[in-house]
């Protein structure tokens, strides 16, 4: 059996200039960095990531299993990276909806891996499927389906969220 933590073979190369963008999407995302998320590999429309086990990210102190919320955050992140990598040029993404089925708890003390596939990209929306697992993607911890808005930052100035939303008239 192959090492499940090893990145899968490369293929489906990214368009020019996209690799630093998707890498920045992981390293430049404060919460992803705070949780220690690692981007293992990225191809056009596909991404692989890892949430290393940490005691402070456990969901149930009596079992030592990584929190469901960390799996939620990892799936949101890896889906967003897959949605970005499916595009031909750098853009921005925002999660519209994220649905997750939790099939089982992660093994105690184990890191969680996730792989995502953007299977459909329109001008406005990216549709993504993802699976989280600890050893074998065929034995998943959780399945996710997500939709992302493309070019989510268009019309938004940097720092525009520093103020409360404007009241509707």
């Amino acid at each position: 059996m192959t090492d499940p933590t090893a990145p899968p073979p490369a293929g489906g190369a990214l368009p020019d200039g996209m690799r630093p963008v998707v890498e920045m999407m992981m390293q430049g995302t404060p919460h992803a960095r705070a949780l220690g998320f690692q981007l293992m590999d990225v191809q056009r429309g596909r991404a692989w990531a890892r949430a290393p086990f940490r005691d402070d990210l456990v969901g149930d102190a009596t079992t030592g299993v990584i929190a469901g919320g960390v799996v939620t955050a990892l799936l949101d992140q890896v889906c967003g990276v897959a949605a970005m990598s499916a595009q031909s040029e750098p853009s921005s993404t925002a999660t519209i909806d994220l649905r997750i089925d939790y099939m089982r708890a992660a093994a105690p003390g184990r890191s969680v891996l996730a792989q995502a596939h953007c299977y459909k990209l329109t001008r406005s929306v990216a549709f993504v499927r993802a699976v989280a697992y600890d050893a074998d993607p065929e034995d998943p911890i959780a399945n996710a389906t997500a939709a992302f808005m493309i070019a989510a930052n268009v019309g938004r100035k940097p720092g525009s969220n520093a103020r409360p939303p404007r009241k509707p008239k």
Binding site: A32, D56, A67, A94, L98
Partner: protein, 154 residues
């Protein structure tokens, strides 16, 4: 046979805080809880590590999702009058607007508390209660005390 069993007393705010504090990831995020009657409000004070989009900036979708999931499981504990965490079966999150760099609040409603499954809806908001930033709809396994072997091995 039909022995009358007194229902357990309602949970106290301290018990709910203890339950939340028993989740290391909830402590890491900085989740706070306040229970009044059976109405539970969770608060998530802002800090920089919660950001997902540094440009706007906006809270990470996973943070908002995990926060609402904590509101759901804690509200189920309140409904069950039991200091224990149900297991998540599935959640669906709608993101309605980007989470701004400020405090976020969440309240959950247990739509149906069944013998084995609880159906829960959660809303998260920031400045105004009636302008939610996200909603969650989830199903949770509420293993009854005499029914614990229904729970998946954790």
């Amino acid at each position: 046979m039909s022995e009358i069993v007194k229902p357990p007393p309602p949970l106290t705010s301290e018990q709910v805080r203890g339950l939340i504090a028993s989740i290391p990831y909830a402590r890491y995020l900085g989740v706070e809880a306040e229970l009044r009657g059976d109405e539970l409000t969770l608060a998530l004070p802002y800090k920089d590590t919660l950001i997902g989009n540094p440009m706007l900036p906006a809270l990470h979708g996973g943070v908002v999702g995990a926060f609402m999931e904590f509101a759901a499981v804690a509200q189920i504990a309140v409904a069950q009058r039991a200091v224990r965490l149900p297991k998540t079966i599935d959640i669906g999150i709608d993101y309605l607007r980007s989470g701004r760099p400020t405090a976020t609040y969440a309240r959950a409603r247990v739509t149906k508390l069944g013998r084995r499954i609880a159906n829960v809806r959660v809303e998260a908001w920031q400045y105004e209660r009636n302008d939610p930033i996200a909603t969650l709809h989830g199903h949770f396994l509420v293993a009854a005390a005499d029914d614990d072997d229904d729970a998946p091995a954790a």
